[in-house]
Subunit: 399 residues, 2 copies
């Protein structure tokens, strides 16, 4: 019988909000405890997730949360720069760990996190990243079946309004983990690595900073080669102009219906704001708390989570994961391998976490996996700065 | 008053067929003479283009054509490997020259062609390439206006059935100019160079040969950087699977309406053929001759010629040239800058040729221009073979 994971959350911010519908609805997990410096969020958490059988607990600090004996898994959704410290805390307390992407900002921190998990005998998973999304997992399954031959060339393009969503100041400072390379390449590289199925050999990239008022990378292009000969072209822009959701039937990144007539809304909302403090306050309104509620009901997804337009050219077919499934373009015909519309979004994260913790199934999105993705993201920044191709062929980070 | 160019055609093959609606309908050009080894084609040409005022002439050899005093401009549409010889012939005869892309297969040949034109005081233009297409010219005009800032990142993707159209054996042999790098990157690189507006600095690329029965490059990915800091990601596949015309409202490369239910038709037609000889014969059926007719009427285009999905991210807007015009994604709103549906397809080629020959306007698509595009195509092959980035920064080939 199922024995739901008892989840403790570090950080009731925007990342938690995006995972909330999953954790609140998935039968294999239960929101048990949380830590956050904001009292409002703590009170709301207790109110939303206490049941007649057990009271949800909340703490001011991650230390206190990790001391809670009723927590099996700690979900670390604090700002990027705190991940390494919070993973160490949780590992020492013997908790299994799900840490948000990007795993960290430096490879040394990733190594420390992997070592901390190993020494304490706990599982360490990195996510959510969009490589958990069912259409990419399904495309990978089709590729691994061998029916369509090997993946040879991958095209990945995502055009969003990322840079104009409300941000805290450090999210616009690359040295503190801001910008689209740390936050968005972490998804796109993850997706492409999953589909390619072998190690990254080389990275050549450029980045662009087009808006002096948002002085971090808002766009990039990256060319990756893989050890088995595949290659991938990644283009990302967060400048809120062309929108690749047009190529996905106007189903958005979270599987939600989009309204193309709302063009420019993120930029317009931001234009009404005068100071970085006001902007941070606006971001906080999108964090968990009284204004948001949290126990549901949650919107029913119209499709799957996705990360833009992706085409994988294999020896014998092109595969295009979409919000609805995987479109297969074979020699004679093309068809949509439709996936059922998900009831619980991002349920794949809990499925993988549960399989690891309860059944000992080695997770795909391990610490080593997350470290290899970070390594590629850092290589994108390096290549853009140096104008040179970065060779990762001899790197210790594996697939 | 207009004084139409009297055009002599070398080679009544497939390239000529694609330009025929232009030459037959554009008021500034008149099809006057042609050379082709096939008697059927010569007879048809005379029948189609003789008028009461003057008989159209046809010749077995390019030499004889170039000796015709009634020819102002020679259009060289012979197979790639003959371009250099035929350009030399025409230049020595004092004819202005339009030579099909790719201009040649080696830079030394390009230099020889440029020198021959210069020594004989004639204009040398290279095309048609899709960088002549009105939507790219319009996008370039918008970029040069400065209203949207500089071009920073270009995404270009084209997925077609190129490799499964009927071919002569040498078109499947890269050493003889076969494959998609010589034939199709010549378009895509040309388009991207036009939009970027500065010299190519570096080229990193991979190519793929996915079908042993068609043993040449059928796909490539190329990452270009430019001297003013822009970059471009090019993906091309000619394997007849995913089709980027889906992103262009099912208007095809020639501006024609496409029927997506005809999926796989090129491959199916080819599958009925047993030998390379049969295939070459099928290709010949698509050349000019009795079976095709040539004097019209010609289909009315539904849109403009194009070369797949292209997005140019500038400082202040994304521009997306399509078969209908240029879609502009600015900060506040997005709209289609619609271009009138062309009456004569590819009329831009004759416009540029006429302006050069009759009015002395230096052509955009000069010999130097064509040479720089070939240089990038050769760099794609070099980079794919060596696994290294190719530095073109110090190259003599200009924009």
């Amino acid at each position: 019988m199922s024995d739901p994971l008892r989840l403790g959350v570090v950080g009731l911010g925007r990342a938690f909000m995006l995972m909330l519908p999953t954790f609140a609805q998935h039968p294999l997990v239960r929101l048990t405890a949380a830590s956050d410096p904001r009292e409002e969020a703590r009170r709301q958490f207790e109110a939303d997730f206490s049941t007649p059988a057990s009271a949800a607990r909340s703490y001011e600090t991650p230390e206190a949360l990790c001391a809670d004996p009723g927590v099996d898994v700690v979900y670390i959704a604090s700002p990027h720069q705190f991940h390494v410290e919070h993973v160490r805390l949780a590992a020492r307390a013997g908790k299994h760990i799900l840490v948000e992407k990007p795993m960290a900002l430096a490879l040394a921190d990733c190594r420390a996190m992997i070592q901390a998990a190993r020494e304490n005998g706990v599982h360490l998973l990195v996510g959510h990243s969009h490589s958990f999304d069912a259409p990419y997992l399904r495309a990978t399954e089709l590729i691994r079946s061998g029916e369509y031959g090997r993946p040879r060339m991958i095209l990945a393009a995502n055009f969003t309004d990322f840079l104009y969503r409300p941000r805290r100041p450090e999210e616009l400072d690359t040295s503190q983990g801001g910008g689209v390379v740390f936050s968005q390449a972490a998804h796109q590289v993850d997706v492409v690595r999953l589909l390619a199925g072998s190690r990254i050999s080389t990275v050549r990239a450029v980045t662009a900073r087009l808006d002096p008022a948002r002085p971090t990378e808002g766009a990039y292009q990256a060319f990756l080669t893989f050890s088995d000969g595949a290659s991938a072209m990644l283009t990302y822009s967060g400048y809120g102009r062309y929108d690749t959701d047009e190529q996905l039937g106007w189903l958005g990144e979270l599987g939600q219906k989009r309204d193309p007539s709302q063009y420019g809304s993120a930029r317009r909302a931001l234009a009404k704001i005068a100071t970085p403090e006001e902007e941070a306050a606006l971001k906080n309104k999108r964090a968990y708390g009284i204004s948001t509620g949290g126990a549901g009901p949650f919107p029913v997804p119209a499709g799957h989570n996705h990360f833009g337009h992706v085409v994988v050219s294999c020896d014998k077919a092109d595969l295009r994961p979409t919000a609805e499934g995987v479109h297969i373009y074979a020699d004679e015909r093309n068809w949509l391998d439709r996936l059922p519309v998900p009831v619980v979004p991002r349920s794949e994260v809990v499925d993988e976490l549960y399989a690891a913790v309860r059944n000992g199934v080695p997770p795909l999105h391990s610490g080593e996996w997350g470290m290899a993705t970070l390594e590629a993201c850092l290589a994108i920044l390096d290549s853009a700065a140096s104008g040179r191709e970065i060779d990762l062929g001899g790197s210790p980070a594996g697939v």
